[in-house]
Amino acid sequence: MNIIVCIKQIIDPEIPTEQFKLDPTTQRQIRGGLSLVISVYDQNALEVALQLREKQGGKITALCLGDSGATGAVKSALGMGVDNGVLVSDPALLALDSFGVAHVLAMAIRKIGVPDLILTGCVSGDTGNKVVGPLIAEELSLPCVTFVTRVEVKDGKAVMRRIVEDGYELVEGPLPAVVSILSDDSNVPRYSKLKDIMVAAKKQVPIWKAADLDLDGAKVGAGAARLELRDVSIPRRESRCEMLDGDTPEGRAEKLALRLRELKLI
């Protein structure tokens, strides 16, 4: 079965917080010189794809919309073992909202050829948005299941474990479909084997511009944005220490539990 995994390159969430800065005029993240990685849940999606290929065969393509440096993310995905990679990169496509992003990715998927399965991370690792997967499905008129940790394919259908508030549900659905992936013990992203990296490094990553895709100007052109970013800021982190007293460990533990409940943390 053929799979396309949509990936995004983000600033490494593990960098020291003081290194993360926003441009005050554009309100965009300043990336220069910082470590960049594939968005966390997209890595889980790549792992799900690799496991499915091990069972079912087929080919996996990593598809990325980003700036020219995002070739690195596609190469990293190739290093994990995916077969092919494509980068869509164009200055005109850098500041799109989720609707615009989903449209571009959907058109790129059409150009590659709609596969049996399209995977995305369930949450964007930097913005926290969760809608690109469902919007891609909407663009391609495909079913969509979100917050899935495990995917199996049986008799041409996908059987997915979907996480809900108090547990999980098993969802069966037809293929092709769009599935957004949540992390789980079963989909911890594998480390790249060094010999796979050597193979990946030699692969060419085609870079598609806006003109290479049959984009709808009403969805990605000037004024197409449906979401307006009014403000973005870095939260101020403060630390405060509250001491709880008590004569015994049990007494202090009880006070701690009650205080945590008061703070709605448990």
Partner: protein, 379 residues
């Protein structure tokens, strides 16, 4: 002159960094305090290809270049210098000579399993009476029919307690001095080959440092690397590569000291402000950062020359010498930045200082490195 890493080198670095952060950093303190060989993480590193980075793919390695090896080794060593030296010895001192001097059969038997991470190797040159004076080999190899019989003791052998295979240096004729030295591959379990003791060390406590005793240890003549009398040439060529590995390890240790010092000095408040606000601390950090960059560049220089097949003896000595002294200075400064907490075993600064010291000693002391560099200048 392009100082950018290639895609492959960058990805090697990224993978090594991810692995180091997730798998090695959480256990590094315990490995040091218990003096425990980190079997599980070393096995995982082997499965990913880190134990035979520059070994050709045909023999189970990753088929990468020396620069890729150096960037990966720096990341691993930053997390834990013990993991770094285990990886360095496997790659440079064991796989290195087999790639360069082994026959097809020897590569298939002794190189492929180690490069592929299924077993580990070690390099047995040092003896109680042959440290810097490495050519003063007392271990003998007596030819008998289609075997060599080995007798002697090897000292301070890294990976000695865990290795499945050893490259052992011995002399067929002491009168020939260095021209009598041979290199042979000896497998664990060969009768007469035993680990006599494992040393307790000041640092890199997760790697074993063993004394190996050979008592009428019979080894097939087919295990001879190169020709009789070529052992010294093999040892020197191997150490040229090994020094590049140790330079990378030292850069990693120095970087660990800098990163920990930077982080701590931003948090520690004295006189109402973080100690990093004081120029005295800033100057220490600036010196550390500058020296680490310089050490890394020397290491890359030696690695690039090796990759181009050019002579790199002087450059690998310079890299190892400078990087090891930088690591020591960084380790000491790190303890100083941490102040009283730098002296406490619960904090990491002391480990970097202890780990750094050996880099000035093994694979050629700083004094020997200076001799080799001077010799090159004067010849």
């Amino acid at each position: 002159m392009d100082f950018e890493l290639t895609d492959a080198q960058r990805m090697f670095q990224e993978t090594a960094r991810q692995f180091a952060d997730k798998e090695i950093v959480p256990i590094a303190e315990k490995v040091d305090q218990l003096g425990q060989f980190p079997r599980e993480t070393i096995q995982k590193l082997g499965e990913l290809g880190f134990m035979g980075v520059a070994v050709p793919e045909a023999y189970g390695g990753a088929g990468a270049d020396t620069v890729s090896y150096v960037v990966a080794l720096e990341e691993i060593s930053r997390a834990c210098a013990s993991h770094g030296v285990i990886m360095s010895v496997n790659n440079s001192l064991y796989c290195g000579p087999l790639v360069k001097f082994g026959t097809e059969e020897q590569k298939r038997r002794f190189l492929t399993p180690v490069a592929g991470g299924k077993s580990a190797g070690c390099f047995c040159l040092s003896e109680p009476g042959a440290g810097s004076d490495a050519a003063n080999q007392q271990t003998t190899a007596r030819r008998e029919g289609d075997s060599y019989v080995l007798n002697g003791t090897k000292n301070f052998i890294t990976n000695g307690a865990e290795a499945d295979c050893a490259i052992v240096f011995a002399t067929v004729n002491r009168a020939l001095k260095h021209k009598g030295i041979c290199a042979l591959v000896v497998e664990r379990g060969t009768p007469g080959f035993a680990v006599a003791r494992v040393e307790k060390k000041l640092g890199i406590r997760g790697s074993s440092c063993a004394q190996i005793a050979m008592d009428n240890c019979r080894v097939p003549a087919a295990n001879l690397l190169g020709q009789e009398g070529e052992g010294w040439k093999i040892a020197l060529a191997t150490l040229d590569g090994g020094r590049i590995g140790i330079a990378a390890q030292a850069v990693g240790i120095a970087r660990a000291a800098l990163e920990a010092s930077l982080s701590y000095s931003k948090q520690r408040v004295q006189f109402g402000r973080p100690v990093v606000a004081n120029q005295a601390i800033q100057f220490m950090l600036a010196d550390m950062a500058m020296e680490i960059d310089a050490a890394r560049l020397l290491t890359f220089n030696a690695a690039l020359l090796k990759d181009q097949g050019l002579r790199h003896t002087k450059e690998s000595c310079m890299a190892k010498l400078y990087a090891s002294e930088v690591a020591m200075r960084a380790g000491i400064k790190g303890v100083q930045v941490f102040g009283g907490y730098g002296y406490m075993m619960d904090y990491p600064a002391q480990r970097f200082m202890r780990d750094a010291k050996v880099t000035e000693i093994y694979e050629g002391t700083s004094e020997v490195q200076r001799l080799v560099i001077a010799h090159d200048l004067l010849s």
